[in-house]
Symmetry: C2
Subunit: 368 residues, 2 copies
């Protein structure tokens, strides 16, 4: 049955839901003062459920793996409707610079092998041959963890949504209730989808405390003439306890991320964040010292209490698709499919079960 | 006698000469595709002949001191014609972080005292009381070294030049000869002034090899809420052999500079340059770590062979006012006055003598 849907938020989640819902025949309006920007615009673009995994977060890993399986089809459909999103199949290496980092990586490697995931341990020398310019002690190669060009993806989603008839309302959402979204005027509808990222917690009482901003700073760099070219695949590392990643883009640029701070809604790029990212990157890939620094930026991820997103009905006619933490780009396909199922009244597949909004309320720390 | 003058270059030197020459009654055209930008826009704004001094560079110190004496009058005239240039009288401290830096500073201090300059040695504790937040071993207070807000200065110079009737020609200069400047069309005139900064060496054979680009990277930062406020005066330091400076602006911003590279006409901001500036600044003023990094930029100084500018006649009707090295803002008043004297056929004052173009040819390294 065709419904009249309003989506609050035009990041990668809101746009993916809008595109898929419009393609399925629903009437869709998407409300965002600047669709295609926000945290999605500042993302690194890793589609990396395995190398993001950590013991105790198996639900996140399962959901991520399920979404990653859907990514090639999602990218193919998107290429047909809106343009190539720049999916890279080159894989990921996770590297350790010193013995403490190597120990942390050993724990991750053993955990992944125990789960039956594809992860190959490599020496520093082997890694240097695989990815010229890496200066590391040891590492893991995880060929299944991929990457996407976040800005190409957003551009393609905007075009695909427009092609499928999504109406864009360039306003700030100030209120939500069953059957209506307030954004300057009141937009009446059958169903609201809250996909407002870090700001979702302000839009519905059931999300307050569940979703909070988690600042991340990223840099963009490109090799100067005569420099060693960027790595051909994603490189992740933990340097002095801080995670960093280098994600190459097809045009030769590198996205270097990402810091994590609890800083409220502050989106300032800090001196220390930039210094730490550059130091960490030079440590594992020294040639980056001579690269041109072309952009510094910060975004607010929608952190959730347990790293799982919040997907489901908050009350009749109000759905949440938010709290994707560091995994918004990865989880876009599985999220869009889940929202479509909910709109159609279909049962949710089992991998989405742990994301139900109700599970999270018991997890909010007292006083939050 | 009123002359018809064309000035090639609209940085701080070209604009100062244009304003002063037009105010003196000359017809002035200034040719620059983007006047008020270039290296002057990226400068730190120090007016610091004393703390820039080094044994063996006495001519540079004398010229700088002479120009600094003219700065208050220059700023007052400019405020009347074009607006307040943001001259700060707060002074400068030069600080040492470790024992090697302290030794270098001791040499500078003894040299300054021997020259009879005002420079007071201070302990780290004394400096911490004078400038809260400084974390240093020792230092020198040099109250006579000042600073100007380079962007306010450029804005004021543009307005003052317009008010005095300077005609702006927004084109690139491609050729110069006695009696004419080629910039798309040919601009005929009585005298040409070459004030094209790092690009001056390309505009006249007598400047080739004398003036070369010297890249400098600078950052701009501002305190986040709750941060310690910036120092109230210019702070200079040498950290691990690399000079850095922090120059506060009246609006709370800090300009952090400056790297120095021989990199041809490349204006890319490098990863290493930014990392070193941030590291150095955190070392002497740790609170800056939490500041917001609002801008990264690079400019090309017009380096000369001996740090002195090139001021004088290259051939009849062609004057040079370029090669100001790290001192373009400081030397703008004395340069404008010298060019005015030359245009009027007046004898040059003695402090300008060492800047004669002829002196420099013997100093060009063989093969350059």
């Amino acid at each position: 049955m065709s419904e009249n849907i309003v989506i609050a938020g035009g990041g990668v989640i809101g746009l993916s839901v809008a595109w898929r819902a419009a393609a399925a025949g629903h009437r869709v309006r998407l409300v965002d003062p600047e669709p295609g920007r926000g945290a999605s615009w500042v993302a690194g673009g890793m589609l990396a459920p395995v190398t993001e995994a950590w013991p105790g977060e198996e639900d996140t890993l399962d959901l991520g793996q399920e979404s990653l399986r859907r990514w090639p089809g999602f990218a193919e459909d998107l290429a047909a409707d809106g343009g190539d999103p720049g999916l890279s199949l080159a894989g990921t290496v996770v590297v350790a610079h010193d013995s403490a980092d190597a120990e942390q990586l050993r724990v991750l490697g053993e955990y992944l092998v125990a789960l039956g995931r594809s992860a190959e341990s490599l020496t520093g020398r082997e890694l240097g041959r695989l990815v010229p310019g890496l200066s590391v002690r040891s590492g893991l190669s995880v060929p299944g963890d991929l990457a996407v060009d976040n800005r190409k993806l957003l551009t393609a989603l905007l075009a695909a949504a427009r092609k499928r008839g999504v109406e864009f309302v360039p306003r700030e959402v100030t209120g939500i209730r069953p059957g209506a979204v307030v954004a300057g005027a009141e937009l009446r509808c059958d169903a609201v989808v809250i996909a407002a990222g870090a700001r979702s917690g302000r839009l519905h009482p059931a999300l307050a405390g569940l979703v909070r901003p988690l600042k991340g700073e990223i840099l963009r760099l490109k090799p100067a003439r005569g420099c060693l070219p960027p790595p051909d695949r994603t490189v992740r590392a933990v340097v002095e306890g801080r995670p960093i990643y280098l994600v190459p883009r097809a045009d030769g640029e590198i996205v270097l991320g990402a810091t994590q701070y609890e800083a409220g809604f502050d989106e300032a790029v800090t001196a220390k964040g930039v210094r730490e990212l550059l130091e960490g990157a030079e440590r594992v890939f020294p040639a980056i010292a001579e690269y041109e620094l072309t952009e510094i930026a910060a975004g607010l991820r929608a952190a959730s209490v347990d790293t799982l997103p919040v997907l489901g009905e908050l009350e009749p006619g109000v759905l949440a698709a938010t709290g994707h933490h560091r995994n918004g780009l990865l989880l876009a396909p599985v999220t869009a499919d889940a929202v479509l199922a909910m709109l159609g009244g279909a049962p949710l597949p089992p991998h989405v079960g742990p994301t139900a909004p109700a599970r999270a309320h018991s997890m909010i720390p007292e006083g939050a």
